[in-house]
């Protein structure tokens, strides 16, 4: 396979089906050193299958995966990889400190226990049994186990499910820190704000294929567009013919306009209606983009 040096993990033209369901349909992914790739998609879009193939847990019928240019299950590859799977129940009766000691022992140069505790937010938990922890605390333990070996590639399958906002932000900053240290991160998530906060590159999946990809900004731009809301008496049918305007909607006094570029439209609105009030200009979030992209694909 052709890989540039900073591509640490690679899914190439992978095709995988479960019975009649095509879970991956020629899917490509590349994880770059120091970059966070967010894999977005509805349930059943194929995200977890993509992760499984990249980890070597299941084999693609066509195409395949390489990790450090090795087969994904090669011990040499695994020792440089950290993984947080979506559905793992660790042994209830072991203490957090024991789980950490066991996992750190798999790696030649693990992070110190103190570093793991600080990065994953495990303060005060080392002596507690895993089964007695809350769901969010358990996720943090799993995260600590994923990063404790100083991995160069990190797979995080919905890492912040069940975390409160503070814990989520703590994990985000730990993920950013790992990426800054040169780690390549693959993040699958339902939370768009998570991708927005972390991702250098976003891949939107549907039905086993890449639907859209690019930076967060590029994905946003796919759905253009900024949105103007204001109270105005300017006729909406007139606005619809202005340059840059894609859509206009009126609801009572409120007019909502999607346009790009948005500035000339705002200037003209203000010029035509000095009484105009409650002016707002919003940028489309990743959530809007995501909905728009998947909806458009479903309609097609």
């Amino acid at each position: 396979m052709n890989t540039t040096p900073d591509v640490l993990a690679h899914l190439q033209a992978a095709r995988k089906s479960y019975g009649k369901v095509l879970a991956l349909d020629g899917m490509d992914l590349k994880l770059h050193s120091g970059k966070v790739l967010a894999l977005l998609g509805a349930n059943g879009a194929g995200k977890s299958t993509a992760v499984s193939v990249m980890l070597g847990l299941c084999e693609a019928e066509q195409g395949g995966a390489r990790l450090f240019d090795l087969p994904p299950l090669a011990m040499e590859a695994r020792r440089r990889t950290g993984v947080m799977l979506q559905s793992t129940t660790l042994p209830d009766t072991l203490k957090v400190g024991e789980l950490l000691a066991m996992t750190r022992g798999y790696y030649a140069e693990p992070l110190s226990v103190a570093d793991c505790v600080a990065m994953a937010g495990l303060q005060g938990l080392l002596g507690r049994r895993y089964g007695k922890l809350s769901g969010g605390q358990q996720r943090r333990v799993q995260f600590a186990m994923a990063i404790c070996g100083r991995p160069r590639v990190l797979f995080l399958d919905e890492p912040t499910t069940g975390l409160d906002i503070e814990a989520r932000q703590q994990m985000w900053s730990a993920i950013r820190e790992r990426a800054a240290a040169g780690c390549a991160v693959l993040l699958t998530t339902h939370y768009l704000e998570e991708a927005e906060a972390l991702a250098d590159h976003v891949v939107v999946m549907q039905a086993g294929r890449t639907l859209a990809e690019g930076s967060v900004a590029q994905i946003r731009e796919r759905v253009l567009q900024r949105r103007i809301r204001c109270n105005t008496r300017v006729d909406e049918h007139g606005i619809a013919s202005w340059s840059g305007v894609r859509r206009v909607q009126r609801d009572g006094n409120v007019v909502e306009i999607q346009a790009e570029p948005v500035e000339p439209v705002v200037a003209r609105l203000l010029a035509e209606d000095p009484q105009l009030s409650a002016l707002e200009v919003q940028r489309a979030g990743l959530a809007d983009a995501f909905l728009e992209i998947t909806r458009a694909a479903e309609a097609a």
């Binding site: 980890l55 070597g56 847990l57 299950l73 090669a74 011990m75 040499e76 695994r78 020792r79 990889t81 993984v83 799977l85 559905s87 793992t88 129940t89 660790l90 042994p91 009766t93 072991l94 024991e98 000691a101 066991m102 996992t103 022992g105 798999y106 790696y107 030649a108 049994r129 070996g149 797979f155």
Partner: protein, 255 residues
């Protein structure tokens, strides 16, 4: 790829990894009372009852039952540890996680064997102590060592049988299946009572059960076996272990 010692780890670091894995497997099971209490308590308790209290000082019966109850005790950790433990580990995604972690493929299995051996040692020592202190059993040091050796190595066929059960049955069904095999086999192998006290047909079919062969090896140490050669018992146990491993492996490859 070498499944035992991956490159980049020294042999001693690797040995430490296997020992740690075994230690945590043991702690994990020890802290599960539903498993550890019956395992550690049943055999000594039955022995106290039948071999000491109800036995009225018959040293021969006390040493017979000490040998057979220790075999009864060591069957449990292998059968439950593999039969139930492995099925549950699989269902909880733990085996999947271990596959992607840099853990040698055999480590989780060897850890369970090690766990079973530690339990077997505890059971063997407790029964020796009870027999010699309360039951009037006299063994010299080499006999005690041989009996412990039989106990410890004797976990292997039951680990293998447990592994096979674990590959066939899911986690919630496994305890029932294990008990359905464990208890009747112990009785039919003469581990609870000497076979002479059971119907003759039971004694005739006893050589079918691996537990009987292990029991005979333990009884040979105390001089009360039925007189068949050691080699035959060992061969049957090894063969049984190999067949279980073979079937389990075929089953795992298909899954």
């Amino acid at each position: 790829m070498n499944t035992l010692v991956p490159t980049g780890f020294t042999r001693s670091a690797m040995l430490a990894l296997y020992l740690r894995e075994t230690k945590y497997e043991f702690l994990r099971v020890l802290r599960t009372p539903a498993f550890s209490v019956p395992t550690l308590v049943f055999a000594p308790m039955f022995y106290l009852l039948f071999g000491v209290l109800l036995n009225h000082g018959n040293a021969q019966a006390a040493s017979y039952l000490m040998a057979t109850y220790s075999v009864f005790g060591v069957m449990g950790p292998g059968l439950f540890g593999f039969g139930v433990g492995l099925a549950m580990d699989r269902e909880r995604g733990l085996l999947t996680l271990k596959r992607v972690q840099p853990v040698p493929a055999l480590a989780p299995l060897l850890a369970k064997v090690g766990m079973a051996m530690v339990f077997a040692t505890c059971i063997g020592v407790v029964l020796l102590a009870l027999g010699m202190m309360l039951g009037g059993v006299r063994l010299d040091a080499s006999q005690a060592a041989w009996l412990l050796g039989v106990d410890i190595l004797g976990v292997m066929p039951f680990c293998a049988l447990g592994l096979l059960i674990g590959t066939l049955v899911n986690g919630s069904g496994a305890p029932a299946v294990v008990n359905l095999i464990y208890m009747p086999m112990a009785l039919l192998s003469g581990l609870w009572l000497p076979l002479k006290m059971l119907p003759a047909v039971v004694e005739r079919i006893a050589p079918l059960w691996p537990a009987w062969h292990l029991g005979q090896l333990a009884l040979k140490v105390v001089g009360q076996d039925s007189g068949r050669p050691v080699g035959m018992h060992v061969a049957v146990l090894l063969g049984f272990t190999a067949i279980c491993l073979f079937l389990a492996q075929r089953r795992l490859q298909r899954a």
